[in-house]
């Protein structure tokens, strides 16, 4: 049984929804290339020479076909004395399930697009101390030259 494995060079960080995928190699490999058969964290075993070829091509990302059908970030590879290189991988859930994620019902806590400037933002820093602006009304009392009000009983 063979497994399709496409290796790419990706320059986008995991917390972006898009990937810039430059194909490095497309292989049909025996499924025993997978040393650890784990959907989320498989370990791929390749010849040292093959790995060097991938690495020189800048491969840091791959897609495994059925039964995996997932995109993976490649971890730090380890070359063994047996002439094989072991590459730990971790599933890219955001890109693999992007359409399902985009269809998710969400409530935002922060957003670049749908935000409310009336909400307090802890990332707005406050300088210490108030500025004071005085504005005076036009009316002026005259305590230095007032008048008297006399109230008397009389006609």
């Amino acid at each position: 049984m063979s497994l399709s494995m496409n290796l790419y060079k990706n320059t986008k960080l995991p917390n972006h929804t898009s990937r810039t995928l430059t194909a490095v190699a497309a292989l049909a490999v025996p499924d025993n290339v997978i040393e650890k058969f784990d959907l989320t964290d498989p370990v791929i075993v390749v010849k040292n020479s093959d790995y060097m070829s991938f690495a020189n091509g800048g491969a840091n990302y791959l897609h495994l076909g059925a039964p995996f059908n997932r995109y993976y970030f490649m971890g730090t590879a380890t070359a063994g004395a047996d002439g094989l290189t072991r590459i730990p991988c971790h599933v890219d859930v955001l890109y693999t399930y992007l359409q399902e994620a985009l269809n998710a019902d969400v409530v935002a806590s922060r957003s670049s697009s749908n935000y409310e400037i009336g909400l307090e933002d802890p990332l707005v820093k406050v300088l210490k101390g108030y500025n004071y602006n005085f504005s005076k009304f036009n009316y002026t009392f005259t305590p230095e030259a007032g008048q008297y009000i006399l109230q008397v009983g009389g006609r």
Partner: protein
């Protein structure tokens, strides 16, 4: 309806000016004068048209948009000038528009020539139905310089009509007075407008700048055919990043009205309406963020076109996500101002209240306590109603630090009686009615960070008002920011008590009591009471009047507060109450701005009212004190970390940085662990490219 008629003699031609709005304008208000001028000439004893074989239906329209920096009112006035060639005395009839500063869209003092080289009669009917007529009989006769003899008119007359959207006065002085006061009697009346009869409205201003500007100004009202409905639905429009709502059901609209601002009433009828609007708080797409500066509507909103159509056709509210609040309500009639009463009590009989100067008061005391036995005998006899304590006829002598006529209606030169005894050495100005409010003016508090920004509010911005004789008070800034704030004062001349009224856009929001008049002791009893009052006032000032919170996170020592007469609550010196009240206030501050700053100092010292004569040493005018903290926000904050949001919807409706407060995945094809990781990523923040 008031109108202005201009009728040339003798053939009955006429030019009338009708319409006339309230004259109240704001930035963006469209104003116009449109008129139809018809010129005639008389040659060889008969009237001939100036052009062609009949009336020349030359139609003219002058219009413009009020720009920023203009006055809040606009007006026109009728003027007459000499003909261009100056060869005759008949005047051109022009309307000069004033009320627009340089820098507005329309030039100041724009003149529109309604009638040139004519002979006319001006008939005006004002809003009260009164008609006046002015005739210019010195018609233009003879050839014009530069015109061929065969063309030159013997006389030229005009006929037509004009409509203006603002009041027009007879003289420049009247127009200028209207600009200042909003009052006047324009020739074309200030006709109350009939509001639109409409079923739906949507007001939508869309800008690329948060809080200001507008690339799109949509102010629509719709009258529907019977049984028809409108509905908006959310739609992502390819190629139109500035819109996210689409109007459905437009074929059921009977009448479309399109205005220039939400405050305009009525809106003029329009032939068409746009169908796309922006309702999201902000929409980032194509490298630009679009903001709905205004988004007000009573049109229901559906989550899909299908649900919108279902609602329109059947009234089914499935998928209707929101029906914005309707105008008005059942609680009471909505109003934009509060009405204040007037004191109708009359003081012209049954005793008296007089305004005296220093010199007059001296004369009063001299005569009242004269040692002349004849005077004293007269007083004693005249004061028999007061028994053995004749001095009781003098009820009160109070010093006021303002002119009595500011708060009362006076009559001058009145005799003063002590009981039945008529003072012989002085007369006084009698207070007839204590019926006036002192209007101290109006200030406008512009939101320093633009409308809607949380930084405009406490504790980052605070407003205090320093009121003479009433001390310093903090105003709740929400009530006043972005509003016209008016201060009025009522003073009771019988007691010297005063009440300040603080109005926000003509609505009373706060009032503060105080003691302005200072009573002079007359008898020993009065003196004792006066001393007691001052003593109590000092105690009260210490315990009630002053509040200083220095360092919001610092504990406040009630003992220190009591000793210093500071840092106390407004109600008591009870330590528990003090601690509770202050910690409650501080708790609010800390909760609201936790993590933003280490301390927030209380910006002003508050003081209650003054008593006795101490108030005379207080500030002489009211002051507003606007306290503002300076804030810093990274220029790229919105792009890389967004801003706080409470928006909900599909993740696909967001762009740029997004951080989830809650996530629901309606379907997911991965493992449970992957679902948890995905939700964790969304809550940690992602960039939707």
């Amino acid at each position: 309806m008031a109108s202005l008629q201009i009728s040339p003699n003798p053939n009955g031609s006429s030019l009338s000016v009708g319409g006339g709005g309230s004259g109240e304008v704001s930035e963006g208000t469209r104003i116009y004068i449109e008129y139809n001028r018809k010129n005639w000439r008389e040659t060889q004893g008969e009237w001939l048209p100036m052009y062609g074989g009949g009336w020349d239906p030359s139609e003219y329209r002058w219009e413009g948009v009020v720009g920023d920096g203009g006055f809040s009112r606009i007006a026109g006035y009728i003027g007459q000038t000499q003909p261009i060639d100056g060869s005759a005395s008949a005047g051109n009839l022009i309307i000069t528009v004033i009320g627009i500063k340089t820098g507005g869209v329309i030039d100041p003092n724009t003149s529109i020539n309604l009638c040139s080289e004519g002979e006319w009669t001006l008939s005006t009917t004002n809003a009260q139905g009164e008609t006046t007529t002015t005739t210019d009989t010195s018609s233009f006769v003879g050839g014009q310089t530069g015109h061929s003899p065969g063309w030159a008119p013997i006389a030229a007359r005009v006929e037509g009509e004009a409509n203006a959207s603002f009041p027009i006065f007879e003289t420049a002085a009247e127009a200028e007075n209207f600009l200042r006061t909003g009052e006047g009697d324009p020739l074309n009346g200030m006709v109350p407008v009939e509001p639109n009869d409409y079923d739906y409205y949507i007001y939508n201003r869309i800008s690329t700048t948060p809080g200001s500007g507008a690339e799109y100004n949509y102010f629509y009202r719709y009258k529907m055919r019977e049984g028809k409905r409108l509905c908006l639905f959310k739609e992502k429009l390819i190629g139109y990043p500035q819109f996210d709502r689409t109007l459905s059901g437009a074929d059921g609209i009977l009448t479309i009205y399109k205005g220039d601002s939400p405050d305009q009433d009525p809106f003029p009828e329009a032939n068409s309406t746009v169908l796309h609007f922006l309702g999201a708080l902000a929409k980032y797409e194509g490298g630009t963020t679009w903001y709905p500066i205004t988004y007000e509507t009573n049109i229901p909103i559906a989550d899909s076109m299908q649900h919108a159509q279902d609602y329109i056709e059947t009234g089914d509210t499935t998928g209707i996500t929101g029906i914005p609040g309707q105008q008005g309500g059942e609680i009471g009639e909505p109003t934009d101002q509060t009405e204040q009463g007037e004191n109708g009590a009359v003081f012209s009989y049954g005793g008296g209240m007089f305004r005296l100067s220093n010199a007059q008061l001296a004369s009063f005391y001299t005569e009242a306590f004269n040692t002349d036995p004849n005077v004293m005998q007269s007083i004693l006899e005249g004061l028999q109603l007061f028994g053995s304590n004749q001095i009781n006829a003098i009820h009160d002598v109070m010093y006021i630090p303002f002119a009595a006529e500011d708060v009362a209606t006076l009559s001058s030169g009145n005799d003063i009686y002590l009981g039945s005894y008529k003072m012989t050495t002085l007369t006084g100005d009698r207070v007839l009615k204590n019926d006036k409010l002192i209007n101290m003016g109006t200030h406008y508090f512009a939101p320093p960070y633009g409308a809607g920004d949380h930084r405009n509010y406490a504790p980052l911005c605070r407003i205090f008002v320093m009121l003479p004789y009433a001390g310093t008070h903090e105003l709740q800034i929400d009530k006043y920011i972005g509003k016209n704030v008016t201060l009025k004062l009522a003073v009771d001349l019988t007691t010297g008590a005063g009440t300040y009224f603080v109005l926000s856009n003509n609505t009373i929001m706060d009032s503060f009591d105080c003691q302005i008049g200072a009573h002079r002791a007359i008898t020993a009893v009065d003196h004792a009471q006066h001393v007691a009052a001052v003593t109590n006032a000092i105690l009260q000032t210490g315990t009630q009047g002053i509040k200083t919170v220095a360092g919001a996170t610092n504990a406040i020592n009630p003992a220190q507060a009591a000793t210093a007469g500071r840092e106390a609550t407004k109600t008591s010196l009870n330590a528990a109450g003090l601690g509770g009240a202050v910690s409650g206030a501080i708790g609010t501050v800390v909760t609201g701005f936790q993590g933003m700053q280490s301390t927030i100092d209380y910006p002003m010292t508050e003081r209650g009212s003054f008593n006795g004569f101490l108030g005379m040493f207080d500030v002489k005018s009211p002051y507003f004190v606007f306290c503002q903290m300076q804030t810093k926000q990274a220029q790229n904050l919105i792009r890389i970390k967004g801003k706080p949001s409470a928006a909900g919807g599909k993740l696909s409706s967001f762009f740029g940085y997004f951080e989830a407060a809650a996530v629901d995945l309606p379907s997911f094809s991965g493992t449970e662990a992957e679902a948890e990781e995905l939700m964790s990523i969304l809550k940690g923040g992602i960039y939707i490219d």
